[in-house]
């Protein structure tokens, strides 16, 4: 590739071409060897002093240098018009390099060499001026017989030769001597009038072959006698003929005093030329001379000729040539400075402020001239543009060299003259330095050239005219510009230029391919794009190919293009390698990363989004065009990853499909590498699907199986805790330890998110677990665009223990699996995340570094944020954990006797349900318990828990809960169920009004296991059977009453037969009204069950809507004082129940008395009902009924029993009928009162009598406080009082026995009543 060296005008170009079958490395080796000769001292060049050839030969003792450069590539033929304007652009000599293989003969080598030259240059081209073929002898040199100088233009370098370098130097010097001689010949031709006309014929003239020019006879004649010395001096000689005095204007000039004289001599030369009759000005000729002298290393002469030509151009403007002459002058001053640096010339300067200012001015002028050149000829556009660019680059190169060499000095000159192998990377700058501002700025301050000024010069090279250039030149120019920018640290500008370079290269690739495509018409378009590559070695393809033929691709160079691309993207803030390749074969393990920490939302924007998108699109297109499929995928996916926020929907979709296609192709081509997982964290959460209740195991300690001592029935309290709401219960329970069962299917819900606008396809998604082995099959998931998605992944734990779910392993399409950790959202974790996010948000708007210092991927290293560092990163994340318990049996309900799960009951009805369960597991069930629940329990428990009920109501509620459950079960029925076996359970039901639903819970377990160590715990499972319950309320009980029983002889009422005929006063009557509020008749039976009485029953059929009173005699009873003084028991042992302190002692005693008698009453009565015409029957509860004090008094046997009777005066019974006495009026009768102590202890009693109407009765003694005295238990006392009824009518006598002390009501221990009817007889 061409390099734009500053001093290229002074370089003698010698083209190196391989000849014959020389291998590339061998050629390269010799090229390197030859390239060591950067310059040759003029003194080393053999002088050929024949006639005109001697003109450019150096003086024997001259001290200058001939600068050489050795390209291996000739300039394109389109540049031939430049041949006179810029001879240094063309190879002036050619060296063929051949390695001498045994079979080759030297003449054939030489013939090949000439053949090659004919290919390279058109036959009539004036260059190269000299040629030579170096044959390097290989091996032991057995064909040395062929050695010798028999063949001209062929030099054989034997392998045995000791000092090859010196010999090579000699050979090259010979070649240079030839070149210098040819310069003379060429100039001679140009000096002829015809030659001069050719020279001035057009803007960029071409000289026809020298043979076609008429031989300048005069010139020959005149020059012949020239003394060789004059041309050695190179100072145009006075003695030369007038015709050739074109070279004479400076004839008397010495190098020290040239300037003044030249002004004097120029008019003379002009005159002389015109006198010759030449039409054209010799300015161009002088310029050519200057060029040749520059090349010949004779700077003084060159300088003189250039100055002369400039003088001429001033009069007749010829911008391109003038500019070229200025460039030449500029080059010469650097050459001189370089020589001075080498101490070869005693020279001046280096004290002024800007020693290069003069040179730079010349170049600026030249640039401006090129810029303004009017170009008429279409073909010359490209060449003038090229010259312009070269001139700008020369200028830039000057400034850049001085800048990079830390000022005007030998280093700078050397850089400009002999840039070495790395022309664009000066020794003072390393790759790292380019990013260090201070280093670059230091260079500026030392050298006094600011980077901006260099950049502004470089920028001139860039413009639309670049399109005029051929691709090769364009790439060369752009490359140079990019390199300058790069070294100056202007990376964005460099990126700009690099894009153009890429555009150039890719355009060449694409166009080349198009041409191939035409040649291979049979290729299908898509196949065609895939088969050709940068330097594709294309093999001929048969035209009728129906078979897909793949041509071997050469991927050489692709890598560099991609590297360039990656660099350019990096400058624009795009990480093209954000997603890396991973060789599938080498790493099967997934890389691990805590996905939660890369918060995509909080990424700070960097760079210019529109540019980034454009560049990325281009990058993908470039990679597709190469084609490098993995790179396509990498670029597309990386940009999806990093630029997701700014990419448009269409782009996202395009990138995704492109990457997928590219990956497929790459895989088809057998590429083993694959992409790492590229999207952000797609997992937003993992949760375990709760097991269905039927499968949920409960852990119980083994001690629960042991029989417990009396405990409060748990049904009353509804659990241990009195508080309904306990916030700590959830926290202190085991939130993360869900229990699951070994070998049973677990289901996890994975929440996935897809922020992209396309459906994201995950090849596999599986859980990442530790702990016990977990079997699950990865699933394939398609996450819909821009949505959250839930996936259920199921699996089995194959052992018991702890199963930890760390996260998910995700594999994208054709990618490498990657694990994403999902920590449990514990408080600490959430706090950590919140803190982190907060810290990031706090930093969001703040920028310490800007521009290229703020690349997002460098940020982490540059600034360790205090706040971010402080966040507790040491926190060990907790994961979702499951406790896997051993295998458990499983029961299911096979059938029930209930239809539709609904149960219909009458209030108080008793029935049974049959429930058949089946063991569907392989383990036996050896433990089975039933627990019941119904809708009445919870409200009752709540009421109890509130504690606001009176003790009496509490008792009633508790009684209902304990003794009247909806369901009940006989525990003895439980027995082991073998695998596959069945068991029928019988559950009793009791209808309770208000119950709407009930549930039967069967708890079962397999406890007896064959394990060596005794287990601490066992696990139960529960089988629930919910029931809808409807209870009909059909019988209302009301108006319960207890009445004293009195019997009359003439009673003919039914049921009389049931009554005991004796001891009538120790009986009472229980009566209750029952109303049937239902639609069918019921028969209600009340049965008496008393210890000291025969059983009896009364029944009644109650029609719908009617009320019936049922009456049954009851034997009175008396409870002991001890019994009734007990407090009302609470069935639960609740300690927080307060005693009702509002009641007085007496009231409390009465309440207790009422309570206990009522309980006793209910015990002695059994109320049943029977559905008429049906089979349903049940109990009727009396517990709704209240007991009053009068009922109590009736029911209770009196402590002191009083019997009263009337006797006639002669001690015979007074007639009495139907409980009434019929004494005679006005006759004395005896009233006998018998008091008996029925109490268990002695009583002190007195007797009160009341007679009504008292004014019609006379009596003996007093009626109040008749002393009875102390009566022992069971003893009796008789009192007889005489009295006389004074009128007809009805008289009533009441007697009451009182104890002493206390209030009047409490003193009464017994009472009796007697009715007497006095009638006229």
């Amino acid at each position: 590739m061409d390099t734009h060296v500053f001093a290229s005008l002074a370089h003698v170009k010698i083209l190196l071409v391989p000849v014959g079958s020389i291998s590339q490395p061998t050629f390269d080796k010799y090229v390197t060897e030859i390239r060591n000769f950067e310059s040759i001292r003029l003194g080393d060049i053999p002088v050929d002093s024949k006639d005109e050839r001697a003109r450019f030969m150096p003086n024997p003792l001259s001290t200058g240098h001939l600068h050489l450069s050795f390209p291996t590539c000739p300039p394109p033929t389109s540049h031939i018009p430049l041949s006179l304007l810029r001879p240094s652009h063309f190879p002036l000599a050619v060296i063929g390099i051949a390695s001498c293989a045994p079979e080759d003969t030297l003449p054939s080598v030489l013939a090949q060499f000439h053949g090659t030259l004919l290919d390279l240059f058109p036959a009539d081209f004036i260059f190269p001026l000299a040629r030579s073929c170096f044959v390097f002898e290989e091996g032991d040199g057995h064909n040395s017989t062929n050695l010798g100088d028999g063949l001209p233009g062929l030099a054989v370098i034997p392998s045995m030769m000791g000092n090859k370098k010196i010999y090579l130097g000699t050979l090259i010097a010979d070649l240079c001597s030839n070149v210098l001689g040819e310069f003379g010949v060429l100039v001679q031709a140009l000096e002829s009038p015809l030659g001069n006309e050719y020279l001035n014929s057009s803007l960029l003239p071409i000289l026809p072959p020298l043979s076609e020019l008429p031989t300048p006879l005069i010139g020959n004649r005149i020059r012949d006698p020239l003394p060789p010395l004059s041309s050695h001096n190179s100072v145009p000689d006075m003695s030369k003929s007038g015709f050739t005095l074109a070279s004479s204007p400076t004839m008397k000039r010495t190098s020290s005093a040239g300037h003044r004289q030249s002004t004097l001599t120029i008019p003379a030369s002009k005159k002389r030329l015109s006198s010759i009759g030449a039409v054209s000005s010799p300015g161009r000729l002088f310029k050519v001379l200057g060029d040749f002298f520059t090349l010949a290393g004779r700077t003084e002469d060159a300088c003189i000729w250039y100055t002369e030509s400039l003088q001429l151009f001033r009069a007749t403007p010829d911008p391109v040539w003038q500019a070229s002459a200025l460039e030449g002058l500029a080059t010469i001053s650097i050459l001189d400075s370089w020589s001075a640096g080498h101490g070869l010339q005693t020279s001046t300067s280096a004290t002024t402020r800007d020693p290069w200012g003069d040179v730079a001015d010349k170049l600026t002028q030249a640039t401006a001239m090129y810029y303004k050149t009017p170009v008429a000829d279409m073909d010359h556009h490209s060449l003038v543009a090229y010259l312009y660019c070269c001139c700008v680059l020369r200028h830039s190169s000057l400034l850049f060299s001085v800048w990079s060499a830390k000022g005007w000095g030998p280093l700078a000159f050397t850089t400009m003259l002999q840039p070495g192998t790395t022309p664009y990377l000066p020794p003072t700058i390393s790759h790292e330095d380019r990013t260090s501002w201070s280093h670059l700025e230091r260079l500026s301050s030392i050298s006094g050239i600011s980077r901006i000024s260099i950049a502004s010069v470089i920028a001139q090279a860039h413009g639309p005219w670049l399109l005029h250039l051929d691709a090769r030149e364009r790439i060369g120019v752009l490359e140079a510009v990019a390199a300058f920018y790069s070294c100056l640290g202007f990376r964005r500008k460099e990126a700009y230029i690099l894009r153009e370079v890429l555009g150039c290269i890719l355009d060449l690739i694409v166009c080349g391919r198009d041409e191939d495509g035409i040649a291979r018409a049979s290729y299908s378009p898509d196949e065609g794009t895939q088969t050709s590559a940068t330097n594709a070695a294309l093999s001929p393809v048969p035209n009728d190919a129906q078979v897909g033929v793949r041509v071997n691709e050469s991927t050489e160079g692709n890598h560099s293009i991609l590297k360039l691309l990656a660099y350019l993207c990096k400058v624009l803030g795009i990480e093209l390698d954000a997603v890396r390749f991973i060789d599938v074969d080498s790493t099967s393990a997934s890389t691990c990363g805590n996905g939660l920490d890369d918060d995509c939302q909080l990424r700070e924007p960097f760079g210019w989004p529109e540019l980034q998108i454009g560049v990325v699109r281009e990058a993908v297109a470039v990679a597709e065009a190469l084609p490098d499929y993995l790179a396509v995928a990498q670029f597309a996916l990386s940009s999806l990853k990093t630029l997701q926020d700014v990419l448009e929907l269409g782009d996202q979709y395009h990138f995704y499909t492109t990457s997928a296609r590219a990956l497929l192709t790459a895989r088809r081509r057998g590429d083993t590498r694959s992409m790492e997982y590229w999207t952000g964290n797609p997992i937003s959460g993992i949760s375990l699907v709760p097991l269905p209740l039927i499968r949920l195991p409960n852990e119980k300690p083994m001690s629960a199986l042991r029989p417990r001592s009396s405990e409060v029935n748990p049904i009353l309290t509804g659990g241990k805790n009195p508080f309904l709401y306990n916030p700590r219960q959830a926290a202190f329970g085991q939130p993360s330890q869900t229990m699951v069962v070994q070998n049973e299917v677990l289901e996890f819900v994975i929440e996935l998110q897809n922020p992209y606008c396309f459906d994201l396809e995950l090849d596999s998604l599986s859980l990442s677990t530790t702990g016990v082995p977990f079997e699950s099959t990865p699933t394939r998931v398609l996450i819909p665009a821009e949505s959250n998605y839930r996936v259920v992944v199921s699996g089995k734990a194959t052992q018991s223990g702890t199963l930890t779910i760390r996260g998910c392993i995700v594999q994208a399409f054709s990618g490498v699996p990657r694990e994403f950790i999902v920590p449990l959202a514990t408080d600490e974790e959430l706090e950590r995340q919140t803190r982190r996010r907060g810290a990031l948000q706090c930093e969001m708007g703040r920028s310490k570094y800007s521009g290229l210092d703020a690349f997002p991927w460098e940020k982490a290293q540059k600034r360790e944020s205090k706040q971010l560092a402080r966040s507790p990163s040491k926190l060990i994340p907790r994961f979702l954990e499951c406790k896997v318990v051993p295998e458990q049996p499983l029961l299911r309900i096979r059938r029930t006797s209930v239809t539709h799960g609904a149960l219909m009951l009458y209030d108080g009805e008793r029935s049974t349900i049959r429930l058949t369960v089946e063991n569907v597991s392989s383990l036996p069930v050896d433990f089975l318990r039933l627990v019941f629940d119904d809708s009445t329990i919870a409200p009752a428990q709540q009421v109890l828990a509130e504690g606001s009920l009176s003790t009496f109501d509490t008792y009633e509620t508790e009684y209902n809960l304990i003794h009247r459950p909806l369901f009940s079960w006989n525990e003895d029925e439980s027995r082991a169920i073998a695998p596959g076996g069945k068991l029928t359970l019988i559950v009793k039901c009791l209808g309770k009004v208000g119950c709407t639903s009930g549930t039967i819970h069967a708890t079962y377990a397999c406890i007896e296991r064959n394990s060596e160590t005794p287990l601490e715990v066992f696990h139960t499972r529960q089988l629930s059977y919910p029931l809808m319950v409807t209870v009909y309320h059909m019988l209302d009980c009301q108006a319960m009453d207890i009445l004293p029983l009195s019997l009359h002889d003439d009673d003919s009422r039914p049921g009389k037969s049931q009554l005991p005929m004796s001891d009538i006063s120790s009986w009472c009557l229980f009566s209750i009204e029952v109303r049937n509020s239902y639609g069918t008749p019921f028969e209600v039976t009340i049965e008496r069950v008393q210890k000291d009485a025969t059983s009896a029953k009364t029944s009644s059929i109650i029609a719908p809507g009617s009320t019936s009173r049922l009456v049954i005699p009851l034997r009175k009873f008396l409870l002991t004082q001890q019994h009734i003084s007990e407090t009302i028991p609470t069935l639960s042992d609740r300690q927080f129940v307060l005693t009702e302190s509002k009641l007085s002692d007496g009231e409390e005693r009465i309440q207790k008395e009422l309570f206990w008698y009522r309980e006793e009453l209910f015990k002695s009565l059994q109320c049943r009902w029977q559905e008429m015409g049906g089979i349903r029957s049940g109990d009727m509860s009396l517990r709704q009924q209240r007991m009053t004090m009068s009922m109590l008094n009736t029911l209770r046997t009196e402590t002191a029993r009083i019997d009263m009777s009337l006797l006639t005066f002669d001690e015979s019974e007074v007639l009495h009928r139907n409980g009434k006495y019929h004494p005679q009026a006005n006759e004395f009768v005896h009233l006998r009162i018998k008091i008996k102590n029925q109490y268990a202890s002695p009583l002190m009693l007195s007797l009160d009598l009341v007679m009504e109407p008292s004014e019609h009765v006379i009596y003996e003694g007093v009626l109040n406080d008749i002393p009875v005295g102390r009566l022992k238990s069971g003893a009796s006392f008789d009192i007889t009082i005489s009295l006389c009824f004074l009128a007809y009518g009805r008289f009533t006598i009441w007697a009451t026995a009182n104890t002493f002390g206390g209030k009047s009501r409490e003193r009464i221990q017994g009472s009796a009543q007697l009715t007497a009817v006095v009638m006229e007889r």
Binding site: Y388, L467, G614, M844, G851, A854
Partner: protein, 178 residues
């Protein structure tokens, strides 16, 4: 003649951009070198190259009249140039303490002037003709408007300015000065 204004956040992200068509004539004379550009190959990459090299802004004569080549890429190229000019802007910014950087860079036909706020927000203006005073006044106006926008507590240095009022006022100022 058009002018392009970009307001860039410290991370080089444009938070506002404006294209203004000025009525003032262009004084730049294109080089004869830039004329008669060859008909270029039609591949997409060549299109990029054409646009980037600046050829698209040169009127291209075909039989149908004046056509602008690769016009679709223009905006992208202008952004590229603005972005590339940041190299120089940053460099000058470090060495000098003026806020208004007059004609700090030149690329293709564009001259770049810049203005740097104390908060390191850069206003980059691409223009073709010389109008130093006008540009300075324009920048001062934009700065004032920008500061007013930044007073919004919800507005960070990286927030894109979408305010219609801001836009309208900037346009007004551009019409006045440019």
């Amino acid at each position: 003649m058009s002018l392009h204004l970009f307001v860039l956040s410290p991370s080089d992200t444009p938070i506002y951009s404006l294209t203004h068509h000025s009525t003032k004539p262009v004084t730049n004379v294109p080089s004869p070198l830039a004329s008669n550009l060859p008909a270029w190959s039609t591949s997409a990459f060549a299109g990029t190259l054409t646009a980037l090299s600046g050829a698209s802004s040169v009127p291209h004569h075909t039989t149908g009249g004046t056509v602008r080549m690769g016009g679709g890429q223009d905006r992208h190229v202008i952004q590229m140039i603005a972005n590339a000019s940041l190299d120089v802007v940053e460099d000058v910014m470090r060495k000098e303490n003026t806020m208004y950087l007059k004609s700090v860079d030149k690329f293709n036909e564009w001259t770049i002037s810049a203005f740097i706020t104390p908060g390191n927000t850069k206003f980059v203006l691409l223009h073709e003709s010389k109008n130093d005073d006008g540009i300075k006044s324009f920048f001062m106006d934009v700065w004032e408007l920008y500061v007013k926008t930044m007073l919004n507590p919800f507005h960070t240095a990286h927030t894109i300015i979408r305010s219609g009022v801001f836009d309208a006022r900037v346009r007004q100022s551009a019409k006045k000065y440019l």
